[in-house]
């Protein structure tokens, strides 16, 4: 599904990703862990097509296409979804309106008919229940005045509505109390399927107790310095990130 090869990326001439290799197959869940500033968000942003990053070397292949050739909105229409580390507030546009606009844009891209109002309402109510979001939140402006946890749940709601093929979740666990973490994890787990792949970006092992990954990668200084299965996350938790710093210097 996704094949990142020797990816180098920089911002304003400053190298941030220094040769990432990552392959994600359909249905797999990969966790990317790493200390603050290691490049986790940069990687998610480059995959989802955010402006301001220069890919200086390497490639990203997605479903057989050269992903770097596509605009951010085309990537989204092709099934890539980024749950933001810091979801954006958009006063003046309701959650519902944004989601309907998004669904219809994606449908249009695939030359499908617009979703019917009734069908849309039924769907969004169902998905709101999934992340235990009260219906009244649907009419509120996108993320405006939402608590940290509500924003993260809203990201998962959007993901549930847009049904991506590849979901990148950037620190979806940060700032969540244990109840919110469970709700978010339940939502994410409900969306796991043999066709849908996920990349969980996280700083803490805690999330992986709830969403169990197939693979864990450790990122340091813009490079994947170690990969393994879920036990790697526990090892990392026990030894701390200083262990990784050592690995990164050695590599």
């Amino acid at each position: 599904m996704l094949k990142v090869t020797n990816l180098h990326a920089s911002v304003d001439g400053k190298a941030i990703l220094n040769g990432i290799n990552l392959e994600v197959k359909p249905g797999e869940v990969h966790a990317i862990m790493g200390p603050n500033g290691s490049g986790k968000s940069t990687l998610s942003n480059v995959i989802s097509g955010r402006d301001g990053y220069e890919v200086t070397e390497g490639s990203i292949e997605y479903l057989g296409k050269d992903l770097l050739e596509l605009e951010a909105e085309e990537r989204a229409c092709e099934g890539i979804f980024l749950a933001f580390q810091y979801p954006v507030e958009i006063p003046g546009v309701s959650n519902m309106a944004m989601l309907k606009a998004a669904m219809n844009s994606i449908r249009k891209y695939h030359e499908q008919e617009e979703i019917k109002a009734g069908e849309f309402l039924k769907l969004i109510r169902e998905k709101a229940d999934l992340v235990e979001m009260k219906q009244e939140f649907l009419k509120r402006s996108v993320n405006e005045g939402f608590s940290g946890g509500e924003k993260k749940r809203n990201e998962i709601l959007q993901m549930a509505m847009l049904e991506p093929k590849l979901a990148l979740l950037d620190e979806t666990d940060s700032g969540l109390d244990i109840d919110a973490l469970k709700i978010v994890s339940n939502g994410v787990n409900a969306l796991r399927s043999p066709e849908r792949s996920m990349v969980l970006v996280t700083h803490y092992q805690r999330l992986l107790d709830y969403i169990v990954p197939d693979y864990v990668h450790v990122l340091a200084n813009g490079k994947i310095v170690k990969s393994g299965d879920k036990s790697l996350a526990l090892e990392l938790e026990a030894k701390g990130y200083s262990w990784i710093e050592g690995l990164s210097e050695a590599s």
Partner: protein, 424 residues
């Protein structure tokens, strides 16, 4: 600066007019006083502080004939509401519905408005307002008795369809104590023609009267629109003015209220959408003359291409006007590097126990928000439209007439939100 010649040629071109109501002495004396005022101030020029950013060279370079009666040449969408249609400034009776004892044309009503006509106008009015008083021959008059509630929206359409004409239209809304009404004025013009619409609406709100007044300006792209809305408010009255400027080449609006009775409330909402080389200048003034009044002003401007806007928001709180609560916000969104917004809040506060706040911002669309929408599959043009709509929506939300709200939603957000107007 206007030259004597210019002033004279304006007067000459108007001179032959025989105006309705000339048998009324009070009216004749107002008209000649206005003419005298015009002769002394002339047309505004960029050397006038209040017109510094608004160049009228294009307006002055054209000659305008006074309008004469003609009938409507376009088709208007049907409506269930009472609707008066003015063509080139004069009522087209055939095209109008709902004329009644309370809803009349000025030509027929001069004798009933002696106390109100001109009562709201500022002393230091500019030349266009003076010309309007001197030459007004028609307009609508809504005269509500005490306690009368207009349960339908009163629609007024001003259509300009003759090239190189000038109309001086004067409207009066006289809302008796405890009365309520909603008026939607729409100003449209045939594409590709040059004309000058010089129009003044006076609103006299009695005790506890509720007036919701909309002005939707969609003049032709080559047209000049000089508009005034002047308001006197008695105690506990509640007046809302929604100033929506969507086209026209040069637009100037002077909107001023005098809060003359305690407990009066004024809400001024503005939405400016500029494109091409449009120039939109809004001067607002809230005059807190007595204690315990509130005013709430919210102007949003969206400018694309080479368009320009000016906003001046003046709030005057008199020495006696304690416990005034006044707020003014003016936010400008520039969609193009060539667009320019000038804003000038002007607070003059002579009382000490008051709450006055104001804020002005000029900005562009937020790139992170844009990426957020794109990452949800929304293309660049639509994402721009959605964010522009989000910006404007805080003013659109204040519109109480659903059809107007939907129309503006559609205008700004395009197809993106169609069918969703109630959800945004």
């Amino acid at each position: 600066m206007i030259t004597a010649n210019e002033t004279q040629s304006w007067l000459d071109s108007h001179g032959k007019l025989s105006l309705p109501g000339s048998e009324l002495t009070w009216l004749s004396s107002q008209r000649s006083a206005a003419l005298e005022h015009f002769e002394s101030v002339g047309l505004p020029g960029v050397r006038d502080e209040d017109w510094r950013y608004t160049n009228l060279r294009a307006l002055k370079s054209n000659d305008y004939q006074l309008t004469s009666q003609s009938s409507l040449s376009i088709e208007l969408a049907p409506t269930d509401n009472p609707r008066l249609v003015f063509v080139d400034g004069l009522l087209d009776k055939k095209a109008s519905t709902g004329i009644s004892d309370n809803i009349t044309r000025l030509q027929d009503s001069f004798s009933q408005v002696e106390n109100e006509f001109g009562s709201t106008l500022p002393k230091n009015q500019h030349g266009f307002t003076a010309l309007n008083t001197a030459y007004a021959q028609d307009g609508y008059v809504l005269n509500l008795d005490a306690g009368q509630v207009l349960d339908r929206v009163l629609e007024i359409v001003f259509v300009s369809q003759s090239a190189d004409t000038v109309s001086h239209t004067r409207n009066l809304i006289i809302a008796g104590a405890n009365s309520q009404c909603t008026i939607v004025e729409r100003h449209i013009g045939a594409d590709g023609i040059v004309y000058l619409s010089n129009i003044v609406t006076e609103i006299i709100a009695g005790d506890n009267a509720h007036v919701d007044h909309y002005k939707i300006q969609q003049e032709s792209n080559d047209a000049f629109h000089m508009g005034g809305v002047f308001i006197n408010q008695a105690k506990s009255s509640n007046v809302k003015n929604h100033n929506i400027a969507l086209s026209g080449l040069v637009t100037r609006n002077d909107i001023a209220t005098n809060l003359l009775g305690q407990g009066a409330h004024m809400e001024m909402n503005g939405l400016v959408v500029g494109q091409g080389r449009q120039h939109i200048d809004n001067h607002t003034e809230v005059n807190h003359a007595v204690p315990n009044c509130t005013s709430d002003e919210y102007y949003k401007t969206v400018l694309d291409d080479h368009s320009r806007s000016v906003f001046r928001g003046r709030i005057i709180v008199a020495e006696d006007a304690q416990l005034t609560n006044a707020d003014q916000q003016n936010n400008n969104l520039l969609l193009s590097a060539n667009a320019e917004a000038d804003c000038k809040p002007q607070l003059e506060i002579y009382a000490d126990d008051v709450k006055c706040s104001h804020g002005a911002t000029v900005g562009q669309l937020d790139p992170v928000s844009l990426f957020y929408l794109k990452s949800r599959g929304i293309n660049e043009a639509s994402a721009n439209a959605l964010l522009t709509f989000a910006f404007a929506n805080e003013v659109i939300e204040r519109i109480n007439v659903e059809s107007v709200r939907q129309e503006l939603t559609h205008l700004i957000a395009g197809e993106l939100l169609s069918g969703l107007e109630e959800l945004v």
